[in-house]
């Protein structure tokens, strides 16, 4: 069969050992994974876009939802997420510096840069946990109508949002929180809000400076892009639609507006946070390998480059989450 082999060049093409893409097997597989993961995140964000366009006139305004900064009181929309974005970008930079140091076989530089990357990732995950806690705890409290719409309150003296704790009346009630030690222990009673519906309604009626703000965004004319403020008469009439008090957000209720907003917030930032967490864990493993000198013995630091790709990808996804959740 030797005679059928035509030329040497053909032997090179089919003989194996080629790298047409100029990348190792491991790196190609990492890229394949990242492309498929990118499609997963795109699917989630596109679904978010779907729900948002569906309720385009009533969707919550992100600037009014994420207004807190740790240890500081006041209204600072965007500041904290901007800080989180910065942290993640900087940890991306230390990661790429680690990869660069790895190419030059500088073990100590790789160790230090990977260490800084892990710290950055930990700060980011912590910030996200804080963001979640703040979102779940809620801000001002609101009423929910039978149709699942949210009614928020505004103090017309100041023009600021009013918290239900500030104006709700106190009415003696017999209902107490169900605890496991009372009655049938495996029954879960729904937790009581800090103020009952009747207390909030009485509070609105007693305070003439409280008016209701609905979810509807003013489409044109004065106050375009802001939520609709009902007059005092309309507010009192609207109160009859309310069926329960909502404080904070979870998968079922959301005091900030559309429930879907909270659902997507938990799912998308949660999925991203899960990626950051796993990224930190993988970085830690590689970090210890570097410290032990595994890659020094192997003669190259390609593993650092591969986890680096994953870490940059996490940063890349956050850039999009930041835009679609907080900016747009």
């Amino acid at each position: 069969m030797d005679s059928t082999v035509a030329t040497g060049s053909e032997e090179n093409v089919w003989g194996g050992g080629n790298k047409p893409l100029g990348a190792s097997y491991g790196k190609l597989m990492m890229w394949f994974f990242l492309v498929s993961d990118a499609l997963t995140f795109s699917g989630l964000l596109a679904a978010y876009g779907f729900s948002r366009f569906k309720f385009i006139e009533t969707w919550p305004i992100a600037d009014e939802v994420f207004t807190h900064v740790p240890f500081v009181h006041g209204n600072f929309p965007m500041i904290y997420v901007a800080f989180m974005t910065l942290i993640l970008i900087i940890s991306s930079v230390t990661m790429v510096l680690a990869v660069d140091a790895g190419h030059r076989m500088k073990k100590n530089a790789v160790i230090w840069y990977m260490f800084l990357t892990i710290i950055g990732g930990a700060i980011f995950v912590g910030s996200q946990a804080w963001e979640w806690a703040t979102f779940i705890k809620g801000d001002f409290g609101a009423l929910e109508t039978k149709g699942g719409r949210i009614l928020q309150f505004v103090n017309t003296d100041t023009g600021e949002r009013a918290a239900i704790a500030d104006f709700a009346a106190t009415i003696e009630s017999e209902r107490v929180n169900h605890e496991k030690k009372n009655g049938v222990w495996y029954y879960e009673g729904q937790a009581l809000p800090s103020y009952s519906l009747n207390e909030v309604i009485a509070g609105v009626k007693a305070n003439s400076n409280i008016q209701i703000r609905t979810e509807a965004i003013i489409q044109e004319g004065e106050g375009q892009g802001e939520k609709t403020l009902l007059s005092r008469e309309e507010s009192l009439a609207k109160l009859t639609d309310a069926v329960q008090v909502v404080e904070g957000a979870n998968l079922i209720q959301n005091e900030y507006g559309s429930r879907l907003f909270a659902d997507f917030f938990f799912f998308i930032t949660g999925f991203h946070g899960f990626h950051v967490t796993s990224g930190v864990v993988i970085n830690l493993i590689i970090f210890f390998n570097v410290v032990l000198g595994t890659y020094e013995k192997r003669g190259h630091y390609e593993m650092v480059e591969k986890v680096g790709l994953y870490w940059h990808f996490v940063d890349l996804v956050w850039v999009f989450v930041f835009t679609f959740f907080y900016l747009v």
């Binding site: 047409p20 893409l21 100029g22 990348a23 790196k27 190609l28 890229w31 990242l34 492309v35 499609l39 795109s42 699917g43 596109a46 679904a47 876009g49 779907f50 729900s51 948002r52 366009f53 569906k54 309720f55 385009i56 600037d63 929309p77 965007m78 500041i79 901007a82 974005t85 910065l86 970008i89 900087i90 991306s92 930079v93 990661m95 790429v96 510096l97 990869v99 660069d100 190419h103 109508t145 039978k146 149709g147 719409r149 509807a216 375009q224 892009g225 480059e305 680096g308 790709l309 940059h312 990808f313 940063d315 890349l316 850039v319 999009f320 930041f322 835009t323 907080y326 900016l327 747009v328």
Partner: protein
């Protein structure tokens, strides 16, 4: 990855002496873009929020374009796609772009349709 790096960004407008320098340069650029986004998001200039293009506010278009710019530099310089072979780069980049544009186009059109169904009063939602 090839062990040599391409050391210029902005199509050669900004050249660097070493890969490390390029990384810091890209970081500076990304920070500037993020700062612009945050400032625009806080100020919300009326000329940008009142004008629409293809049914979306100009401001939102700016945000999305700046996001894509940031994504480009993260992928090209941090994930060093700039130094990879053209065939690998195209396979990685255009596959998701095509699929995502397709999905987004379909979903947003459908969502707009559902919005109109709600708006025209066939479904009561505010009660």
């Amino acid at each position: 990855m090839a062990h040599e790096h391409k050391l210029e960004i902005f199509r050669g407008l900004w050249k660097f002496k070493s890969n490390t320098q390029k990384i810091w340069g890209v970081l500076a650029f990304l920070c500037v873009v993020t700062a612009i986004e945050v400032v625009l998001g806080i100020m919300k200039p009326e000329s940008l929020t009142d004008n629409y293009f293809l049914g979306m506010k100009l401001l939102n278009w700016i945000f999305i374009i700046l996001t894509l710019v940031k994504a480009y530099y993260i992928a090209w310089d941090f994930m060093h796609l700039r130094d990879e072979k053209t065939s690998l780069r195209r396979a990685i980049v255009w596959t998701p772009i095509f699929l995502v544009l397709y999905l987004v186009f379909i979903l947003l059109f459908e969502a707009d349709y559902v919005y109109n169904v709600y708006k025209d009063g066939f479904v009561a939602w505010n009660f």
